[in-house]
């Protein structure tokens, strides 16, 4: 068990290292330089070159990557914060500490000042959506998995497939048209600004609805497949033949076994929600993490982009690990390894 955990932790580290290097490498293809984007289209080439040099963006890729890694781990002070760099970058936490994500060229702030607040907002959004997705998809999945191919199954399946076919921006458009324009019940933007005349909960309704619509059908389908598999097993037949009524069979025997496989699927949705919110946040002008990620990658703000990617990848690998551990706890048969 300890060996398994150590192995997995090392794998997680390697994955994150590779992912962060991948982001650096992909940004190499970026056509416009960060300096050009910071200074605007009318700056002279000389100004751009000067800023590029100050930002040390002219160094080769491996040098910049290892410097970024060193700054993040607190091994070296961030050279961009040195007073003589002429950039006026100033992090109140100091230039050298563990977890220093550097300075955001987009927001002109230390990345650590920007990212955590945004992540908190997104966590609220994703958390609410998750709290609705879990019960909804379990109910839909179990009801349609009870009798494969039955009328109820076909009806619920069509609903689920239809909902998963609606991209977030499309359901955003539909919901805003219905509940903001035709029947003005809810606000069309969710900037989490209490002074806008709409309460914060009312601002959260539509973004959460958009996330739930896109995601719950998929999860329900997964639970359905698992439920069908369980209902075909001999112990269910035994239970029925023993004279147990349907409710006892479902709650006493089927449900627990049917939840083992979808448990991982459900956990992976956390991962999906954190990054899948990009579109929803854009539609509703929600001040969240996804939009920060989008803005940073469009601007070429590599420090913010790296931090955001590392956070999402960290969430992804952690949920994977928790999923595997939970799987072992729920199903004694695979604990042997």
């Amino acid at each position: 068990m300890t060996r398994f955990l150590c192995k997995r932790l090392i794998m997680m580290m390697v994955t994150m290292l590779c992912a962060s290097f991948l982001v650096f490498a992909v940004c190499e293809f970026s056509p416009g330089s960060v300096a050009r984007k910071s200074l605007g289209p009318f700056a002279t080439q000389q100004q751009v070159d000067l800023l590029s040099k100050k930002l040390r963006a002219t160094d080769p890729l491996p040098v910049r990557y290892s410097r970024w890694l060193g700054v993040l781990l607190g091994l070296i002070p961030d050279p961009l914060q040195a007073p003589d760099s002429g950039l006026n970058f100033n992090d109140p936490r100091g230039a050298q500490y563990f977890g220093n994500f550097g300075y955001s060229t987009l927001n002109k702030l230390p990345v650590n000042d920007v990212i955590w607040n945004r992540l908190k907002n997104t966590a609220v959004l994703a958390g609410l959506a998750f709290a609705l997705i879990v019960p909804l998809s379990i109910i839909f999945g179990i009801l349609s998995g009870l009798k494969e191919g039955g009328a109820l199954d076909r009806f619920l399946s069509v609903i689920c497939i239809t909902f998963t076919s609606i991209p977030e921006f499309a359901s955003g458009v539909f919901l805003v048209t219905l509940f903001v324009i035709l029947w003005p019940l809810l606000p069309g933007t969710s900037q989490l600004d209490p002074g806008s005349g709409w309460s914060i909960p009312s601002q959260l309704v539509l973004p959460v609805a958009v996330l739930v619509i896109y995601d719950f059908g998929y999860v329900a389908r997964m639970i359905r497949v698992s439920m069908i598999g369980v209902m075909e097993r001999p112990f269910i037949r035994t239970a029925v033949l023993k004279g147990m009524n349907t409710r006892q069979v479902i709650f006493g025997h089927a449900l627990r076994n049917a939840m083992i496989a979808p448990f991982t699927v459900l956990l992976l949705q956390i991962n999906f929600l954190v990054s899948g919110v990009v579109v929803t946040e854009l539609v509703f002008a929600y001040p969240g993490f996804g939009r920060l990620l989008l803005d940073a990658s469009l601007f070429g703000d590599i420090a913010t982009l790296e931090a955001a990617t590392l956070v999402t990848v960290a969430i992804a690998v952690t949920t994977q690990l928790v999923g595997d551990l939970g799987y072992m706890l729920l199903d004694p048969r695979i604990r042997v390894k």
Binding site: A19, C27, I161, S165, I166, P167, V278, L293, T309
Partner: protein, 289 residues
């Protein structure tokens, strides 16, 4: 004599395959899916000969009243361009780019999965670890980071789709191959000293076909959504190419006044994705072992 002897045998051999395809027509969901997909395919193919207005030329007079009318059945967009024509020409782009991207991704993914599953050992470990890293990347982040940096174009969307989906396809193929390579017919082929390539292409690939076709259908649906999202994020194909996601994005600013401009392309995307998803579901039901 020989001909008489072989003819009925061939019929017997053919029948299950034909029945397999015929079963699709008994599933209502598959039929609806097939109808939705062919509806858009037919429109996209016939677009140049249909009596449509230009998808790029603005009708300035219609801008005073952009609502659907006899001249413009679905109305005009904020620049006065006919929405119906833009939707149908937009279908051409989507129906070209999405299946193309998925085809490339499947070729790469299936090769990865075949090699990993068939050889096993170190080769499998390297390919699987590499796939894990890509799969840990949230898909949309991968697309945004890639497209924002290498720029939007058909080829780049194909590249991004391949990088994002090939590991997933590889994983499915690997799982199937692991089960299949234990079969007697693979052992028989090895005994006949067939080449590895022959075993992969002739013995293994056809037996993974069903699952992979279903998966491919689903992936085309998701890729259409992704192309729509990229368009909506402003990372779609450059204007004036009609692009469904881009059409939604352009008109969200006037959603309060003219909601139909955003709703119509949204419905187009939903109907096409729904078509592929229903088709995939119908195929899965029809081909269940």
């Amino acid at each position: 004599m020989a001909l008489e002897g072989t003819a009925p045998l061939m019929n017997v051999a053919k029948r299950p395959a034909r029945a397999k395809w015929r079963r699709i027509f008994r599933s209502k969901t598959a039929l609806v899916g097939l109808f939705l997909v062919s509806f858009w395919v037919v429109l996209a193919v016939l677009a140049p000969i249909l009596p449509l207005q230009s998808p790029t030329k603005p009708d300035v007079m219609a801008m005073a009243n952009p609502f659907p009318s006899a001249a413009h059945w679905l109305g005009v967009d904020i620049l006065g361009r006919d929405i119906l024509a833009r939707l149908i020409f937009g279908a051409r782009t989507v129906l070209l780019v999405a299946p193309l991207s998925v085809a490339v991704a499947m070729t790469v993914g299936i090769s990865m999965g075949m090699v990993a599953g068939y050889y096993g050992g170190q080769v499998d470990a390297v390919i699987s670890r590499f796939s894990d890293i890509i799969l840990a990347f949230p898909v949309l982040v991968l697309y945004v980071v890639l497209i924002a940096n290498i720029g939007p174009s058909v080829i780049n969307i194909v590249i991004a789709t391949t990088i994002a989906s090939a590991p997933g396809i590889g994983r499915i193929t690997r799982g199937l191959v692991l089960g299949l390579k234990q079969q007697e017919y693979v052992a028989a082929a090895r005994l006949r000293a067939e080449s590895t390539l022959y075993i992969m292409l002739v013995e293994l690939l056809p037996n993974c076909r069903g699952m992979l076709i279903v998966d491919g259908c689903l992936r085309i649906g998701y890729t259409i959504i992704t192309i729509g999202i990229l368009g909506f994020l402003g990372l779609g194909l450059p204007p004036p190419n009609p692009d469904w996601g881009g059409m939604v994005k352009e008109s969200t600013t006037v959603l309060n006044v003219w909601p139909f401009m955003s709703v119509e392309p949204s419905i187009a995307i939903v109907s096409l994705v729904l078509g592929f998803n229903l088709l995939a579901d119908g195929l899965r039901e029809a081909w269940k072992p």
